[in-house]
């Protein structure tokens, strides 16, 4: 029997944008065991939210994560609106959907670039990020900033889209779709990509359900589960079908995200076309009553769950956030054992780990 060695993968590693450690036990070049260790990025945001006032928490929740900041802010507003409850205008619902899908587009393009970088396809990485810049410019043009958009408020949104911006969005999104489609074609069919991803890190449907996975990781294993199926915000008025693949390997996870990128652009175009006229927010004054509420929404990485408990004062009594990566980390315990050591970066990246979300 070959001697067993334990090697730390992370917390600082070239493929990991954020700190997580995987203690990998291997024999020769085969991984036999893995132990994830988290706790490098905890900031106590849930507790800080309890000490902060309701409207100020939006900006704090947006800083849980840089990439999904927009959806965190929107989900916080949605859960707090349910404490009263407050009904927001239809235009605000559509605008929230548009910005959510825009942030999904840039998140998936970022991940596709990171994946290409992880298996050494540098030029594809650059191309994906070059397309992503256009989406970030759209976010800056419409919301005011590239990353932390701060567009959601309790009762609606802060900014409206004027005719010129809408026209520009449609024009750029069509361009982004065309360019992404061409590049995704390369990603899905190139033999070097397939050689590094097909059959790597297989997660079966039963395992995905048993481990409670979320988002594209779950859908790539053949489970049709997406929070957008609840038809919250404007999703009820848009044509939405979850994207599901059945193979459960790293390639399937990449394909799900690639197809979701195109779907997110289509949803934005559809929502921009159907954008109803009217107000963008309703005035919400005072403190919410003593009540509790939950809200689930679909982040780029999967389901994010918010629980809020108010006590009638200007502070929350409790805020609980469950993020998708926390649900997806256990899947690494199934995916990694048996794989080659060289495949660990790609498999670890294939769950799209977002550690700042996980630890908050």
């Amino acid at each position: 029997m070959a001697p067993r060695t334990i090697a730390p993968f992370g917390p600082q590693h070239p493929v990991l944008p954020e700190p997580i450690q995987l203690k990998i036990t291997y024999e020769d070049e085969k991984v036999v065991d893995v132990l994830p260790a988290i706790g490098y990025g905890h900031r106590g945001i849930e507790k800080a939210c309890e000490l902060n006032e309701y409207p100020k928490n939006i900006y704090l929740c947006e800083r849980i994560c840089g990439i999904c900041s927009c959806i965190h802010g929107i989900t916080y507003c949605e859960v707090v609106e349910r404490l009263w409850p407050v009904e927001i205008p239809p235009r605000a619902k559509f605008l929230r959907t548009i910005w959510s899908e825009m942030s999904r587009t840039h998140s998936h393009l970022l991940w596709l670039g990171l994946l290409a970088d992880a298996f050494g396809f540098e030029s594809m990485f650059m191309q994906f990020w070059r397309i992503r810049e256009k989406v970030l410019d759209l976010l800056e043009m419409t919301a005011g900033q590239r990353v932390t958009q701060s567009i959601s408020v309790i009762g609606g949104v802060r900014r409206d889209l004027n005719g010129e911006q809408k026209k520009k969005c449609i024009e750029v999104l069509k361009e982004v779709r065309k360019e992404s489609e061409a590049l995704i074609g390369v990603l899905a069919n190139d033999y070097t990509v397939k050689a590094r991803t097909v059959g790597k890190g297989v997660l079966s449907k039963d395992q995905a359900i048993a481990l409670g996975c979320a988002g594209p990781t779950l859908r790539a294993s053949g489970v049709c589960e997406d929070c957008r199926m609840q038809k919250y915000q404007a999703y009820g008025d848009l044509e939405f079908e979850p994207i599901v693949e059945t193979a459960g390997d790293s390639y399937a996870r990449a394909v799900v995200r690639a197809r979701e990128t195109l779907q997110a652009i289509d949803l934005q175009l559809e929502a921009l076309g159907k954008l109803p006229a009217g107000d963008i927010n309703v005035s919400v004054k005072g403190n919410p009553p003593a009540n509790e509420a939950i809200f689930r929404s679909e982040q780029p990485r999967g389901e994010v769950f918010y629980y809020a408990k108010g006590n009638g004062t200007r502070n929350l009594e409790r805020l609980r956030v469950r993020t998708p990566t926390y649900a997806n980390i256990p899947s690494l315990l199934v995916m990694l054992p048996g794989c080659e050591l060289a495949d660990v970066p790609i498999i670890a990246l294939s769950i799209d780990p977002c550690i700042s979300c996980t630890e908050r």
Binding site: Y59, M124, R130, M141, G144, Q145, T148, S150, L183, D190
Partner: protein, 116 residues
């Protein structure tokens, strides 16, 4: 790799995708949030901005008649500008240049409350 060839050829003849920064600077978007400016002639030290600022970047001292702004704490969320009833706070599109020491801006506003 063969599938990537059209993109490679296009890029070869397509010119650079980047700018020669800082000689070529991209124009800011009209509604971009760059940095916050205070108009001392309009501010009446009412304190609306300081109460709503999520980052505690504004402090008001009514006794000294001073408004202290900490740009390094500011997250440019535009809440102060929305809260100001006198339009004394504006959000400019240009970013501040990076700083080595955390600056502190002390304003002594001259605006007067309207007689009620």
């Amino acid at each position: 790799m063969p599938l990537m060839l059209p993109t490679i050829v296009r890029n070869l003849f397509g010119g650079p995708a980047t700018r020669l920064y800082p000689f070529q600077v991209r124009d800011s978007f009209a509604r971009a949030r760059g940095h916050v400016e205070f108009d001392d002639n309009k501010c009446t030290l009412c304190g609306n901005c300081a109460r709503r600022c999520p980052a505690a970047a504004i402090e008001i001292n009514k006794e000294k008649k001073e408004l202290t702004f900490f740009p390094a704490r500011c997250i440019i969320c535009e809440v102060c500008a929305e809260a100001c009833r006198r339009d004394a706070i504006t959000v400019e599109v240009k970013w501040r240049s990076p700083f080595y020491t955390k600056p502190v801006e002390v304003h002594q506003p001259k605006g007067k409350e309207k007689a009620s």
